[in-house]
Amino acid sequence: MNINSHKFSAQSAGDKAFDIVNHTILILVALAVFYPLYFIVIASFSDPAAVASGNVSFWPKGFNLDGYVKVFENQKIWLGYRNSIFYTVIGTAVNLALTIMAAYGLSKKGLPGQGILMGLITFTMLFSGGLIPTYLLVDKLGINNSMWALVLPGAVSVYNLIIARSYMAENISGELEEAARLDGCSDFNLFFRIALPLSKPIIGVVVLMYAVGHWNEYFNALIYLRDQALYPLQVILRDLLIQTEQAANMGGDASVMEMQRVADMLKYGVIVVSSLPVLCMYPFIQKYFAQGMMIGSLKG
């Protein structure tokens, strides 16, 4: 079902104007956003001095692959990819299960205690005990230096929970549920048979938010992981950046320039290397937003 239900030529003058303005806006926005992205890619292949002095605009200058060579000659990169994918998949699965179940339960206004729970949960978005007690807790639970230290301490994001809950409260019709309930359908059944399918768009959003969060995560990894074999990609890439900076920083011989040059290129290359997988993931999740439309028509 497309909301553009008519062919362009068959539309009223107003709608034609709307389409023209709308598409112009979209094209301009896309170009404005695209150019700096393109710039990052060409900068990752270009001589950094030329980049910094504004001589790289539309085509790489002083083309070379030194930045990427530096990235991929590092054996740990592949391990990092593997770890990151693993953490992202497991972490997101845990996040999603906890968040969606709770969001559904809390979306029922009639549920006793719902208001208090929401208040208490929102409170944690604003206030936290800080690093030390959290660290002590993780230590005490014995999940230090393991994947669970990256998964459990952030198992539910209040923001995502609230978004999902509000979506469910709005989009899952109470009447439908009442009818199902009268047919002897339990809350579990309602959740799995009706709420989940109807919530596909928001599940897509929540998966995306969590997955990207895990993918970009490095702080907890820095704090809780000691075993280098457990490092996710972001930590390894950071170390790589620091390594070239350290080399440039130590001075002492003629390679300083060279190291600074590679360091500057790496800045851009690292973005390409680390964000490509998440960019590739996007279209698959995008599908869910569109799907929602068809199933959404079930309700009401």
Binding site: L131, D139, I242, N249
Partner: protein, 551 residues
Amino acid sequence: MRRNTTKWMSLALAGGLTMSLLAGCGGSAKSVEDGVPETESQVQEAEEVGEAPSYINETGYPIVNEPIELNVMVGVGPMNGDFNEMPVFKDLEEKTGIKINFEQVSPSAWTERKNLALASQDMPDIIISGIGGMSDSEVNKYSSQGIFVELGDYIEKYAPNFKQLLADKPDLDAVIRNPEGKIYGLPFYQELVDEKIPDNLFINKKWLDTLGLDVPETTEEYYEVLKAFKTQDPNGNGIADEIPLTYRSNQRNTGEYSLFGSFGIVDNEQHLMINDGKVLFSPLEEGYKEGIHYLNRLYTEGLIDPEVFTQDQSQYIGKGQAEEEIVGSFIIFTDENFAGIERAYNDYVALAPLKGPEGDQLWNKYATGYDVNAFLITKNNKYPEASIRWADEFFTVETSMQAIYGEVGINLEYENGKYKIMDPPEGLSVNDIRCKTCPAAYIFGMVTTEMINNIEFQEDTARKLERCKLYDPYTPEEIIPMLRLPQEKLEQRANIFTDLTNYVAEMKAKWVTGEMDVDESWEEYVKTLKAMGAEEYVQIYQEAYDAYKAQ
């Protein structure tokens, strides 16, 4: 060879990249800007040390009768190899019977990991701050909580080499104790002169020759030269693309601080100078105002790069290496890093301090920054005596060379008591292989003048050391030494300093760019600085300096 500790913290925070770092300059370990030991409390150091415990041999080797293991947390840069595999530690293990298990923490994790380990009491026996760094304030805090162990007594009994160093180097002896007179850390002591004069001024000699000009000696001549650079197309490409002078404002290595020397004062990161034993806040001095006038004149006539206040290091360097040579004059630690080797060797020359209108000719010099908190023992350590004896090995020339410059045969040639840094294999740098075989500068130990005199360095370091001789005659007689402030002064200073330095930077920028007029706003400026606590700030240092002198 340089060590740059504290900057890694901001680095880690700023998302893995750099603001002021580049080009190896620095060593501005912030752990060491402070404080003064009181003479009387030094006496208490020699208090009775208990009988040596039975596990240890007081002299001779091995140090321990039965092998022991110590857990050490150390800040290790990603360039370094595995400390557990390094020959220097293996050799020591064989010699002393002490095995070290290193927990190696990357600089981006150092701040949190170290503090959490200490804060949660899940702590190692020893902390070697390495590349990570440890501030005076941190050491003060943790030692007052009893987490770090006082070393004075142990040094007295178990560290003859270090004691010798203290006796030989009064400047170290003056700062190794905290204001209560106690020693908690062993240092990375170094006397490399190049870091004392980090900011050098360079000028394009090729352009001078092209235009038939002499190397400028006074501020007025310099002004004329810059003007000629601007207007007479010295690079001959027919476009007025020349940038007569560029720098990065308020940076220790690439900033304009020393240019104020032509007006009788030196400005620096701390904004402090000493005149006749009196500590002064340099941005309040008359000479500062004159310097601002001068810079403003250059700026408004387009002789200073308009981006001096905004450019980042990459942009700055980018100008030096632009395809077309466009920079007339610049400031940096070493010119290769700005202009590349070819231009640095052929086109640019270092410029001696310029003579000002009143004949003033000064240049900045910093007290050598070295880390006095490089090695710390925690209360968990069951073998403090053995730990100190082990650590004392690093204050012998042999072990220090091995730990800091690497292995003879791999990194060094050794002949007739002289060391030579070996050329690296093709495709690698000196530091690449050095960091693989030894901790390099990221350890504790010493690089003394006597050692330096016996090392033959690579060419660019040699050039830098040569340049320092050009500036040295013009540096102030008295400079702020390394001082150690008491904790409450450190905290007081932190607040005041941030306000002062912000305001000074802001006003300087406005005056130089001509957004405001110096003469009109000077009074207001002085009043504001005083309200912010400039006098208290000076007082903190005056007290510390007086106490330092009194020794």
